[in-house]
Symmetry: C2
Subunit: 208 residues, 2 copies
C-alpha cells in the first residue's frame, strides 16, 4: 500500500496534480473575466506558478479552455438518484448545480461567448448541445412509451425545451440567487409535460 501510495506521488502524479491546479485556477479566472479577457498570466498567478511553467502544461489559452470544458463534463457525471426516474434525476442534478455557482457561471459565460468570432469553444458547445438534446430525447421517449408523457407532448421538443429552460433559468438564478429557484422551475416544467402513472383516470370528453 505504501508503495502504491508513493507511486502515485511520482512524476506522473505530480504532472496530473499540476494540471488540476492550473485548471482550478483557470476556472476561477475564466468565470470571473470570461475566456477572452482572462489571461494566461492571471491563471499562472492564481495557480501560484510561473507563466512558462503553466505553458509547459498548456501551450495556449485555447488548450487550457478545452481541457477545462472536458474536465467539467468528467466532473459532472450526472447526479443520478439510482431510481431510474428521469424527473428525479433532473431535479437531483439541478440541486447539485446549485452548490457549484462558479462552475455554472463559467458554463453560462463560455457558452454565450462561444458565439463570438472564432471562439475556440464553439465546436465544443455545438457538440455538447447536440449530445445533451439527444440524451434527453431518448429518456423522454422512454417516458412516452411508458405512457408517462402527456398526450401530444413530443420527446424531441421536450428535450430541446428543458435544455434551454435549464440554461436560461440558471442565468437568471446566477444574477438573482435570492429570487430564482431553479429546481422549482424545472419541477413546474416537468409537471407540465408528464402525467402520473394512474393518469388513465384523466380523459377527454369528446364533443357531441
Amino acid at each position: 500500500m505504501a508503495k502504491a501510495y508513493s507511486r502515485r506521488r511520482g512524476p506522473c502524479a505530480k504532472t496530473a496534480e499540476r494540471r488540476q491546479r492550473i485548471l482550478d485556477a483557470a476556472l476561477q479566472v475564466f468565470a470571473a473575466h470570461g475566456y477572452r479577457a482572462g489571461s494566461m498570466r492571471e491563471v499562472a498567478r492564481v495557480a501560484d506558478m510561473s507563466l512558462s511553467n503553466l505553458m509547459h502544461h498548456f501551450k495556449t489559452k485555447d488548450d487550457l479552455l478545452l481541457a477545462l470544458l472536458e474536465r467539467r463534463d468528467a466532473d459532472s457525471p450526472g447526479q443520478r438518484t439510482g431510481t431510474n426516474d428521469l424527473v428525479a434525476d433532473i431535479l437531483a442534478q439541478a440541486r447539485w448545480n446549485q452548490t457549484m455557482p462558479e462552475l455554472i457561471a463559467l458554463y453560462s459565460v463560455l457558452s454565450a461567448e462561444s458565439l463570438t468570432d472564432g471562439h475556440p469553444g464553439r465546436d465544443y458547445f455545438i457538440e455538447r448541445f447536440t449530445t445533451v438534446r439527444r440524451g434527453f430525447e431518448e429518456e423522454f421517449a422512454k417516458l412516452h412509451d411508458a405512457g408517462r408523457l402527456r398526450p401530444g407532448v413530443d420527446p424531441h421538443m421536450v428535450a430541446g425545451s428543458i435544455t434551454a429552460l435549464w440554461d436560461g433559468i440558471q442565468l437568471q438564478w446566477l444574477l438573482q440567487p435570492d429570487q430564482i429557484d431553479v429546481v422549482a422551475y424545472l419541477q413546474a416544467f416537468l409537471d407540465l409535460v408528464t402525467q402520473p402513472a394512474d393518469s388513465a383516470l384523466v380523459r377527454v370528453i369528446p364533443e357531441n
Copy 2:
C-alpha cells in the same frame, strides 16, 4: 418642409447621427468579440472616425455599452400584432428576432458576460429580467383570469419559464440555426400552458 429638413441637419442632428453610427459600430464589435474583448479603438475603426472623436460622444466603454443596451430596448418596442393576443404577440416577436441574429447574439453574449466580476451591464440585466418577468406575469395573469391557462398553471412560474426558455433556445439557435426553430419551441411551450377558449369540453373524470 425644406426648412424643417435643414433644421434636422443642424449640429444636434449631426450629433445624433454620429451617436447612431457609433452605436451601430459598437453592436458589430461587441457581438463579434464580447464587451470585454471589444475595444474602443476597434469601435472607432468600424465607425470610421478617430478614437478621440468617438470619446467625445462616449467617454468610456461602459457609457457606450449602456447606451447600446438602452437603444436595444428602444428599438424593440415589442412586435405586437395588435390582436391583444399574448400568444400571437410572443410568436411575432420571436419571428422578428430571427431577422436580427446579430442583435440577439449581442444580447446573449452580454447577458452571460454580465455575470463576470464588475461587469458594467450587470445591473441592467438584473433590472431587465425583473421587468420582463413582471410584464409576462401580468399578461399571463390576464389569461388565467380569462380561463385560458391550464388548471394548476401559475402565471408567476410561466413568466420566468418563458423568459428562460426563450433565452436558452435562442442561444441554441444562434449556434445551430439550421437545427433549431425558436418559434416552434415557444409555440410548443405555450400550447402546454394554455388551453383553448372552449376548453370547458375537457374535463377530469373524478375517481370513484
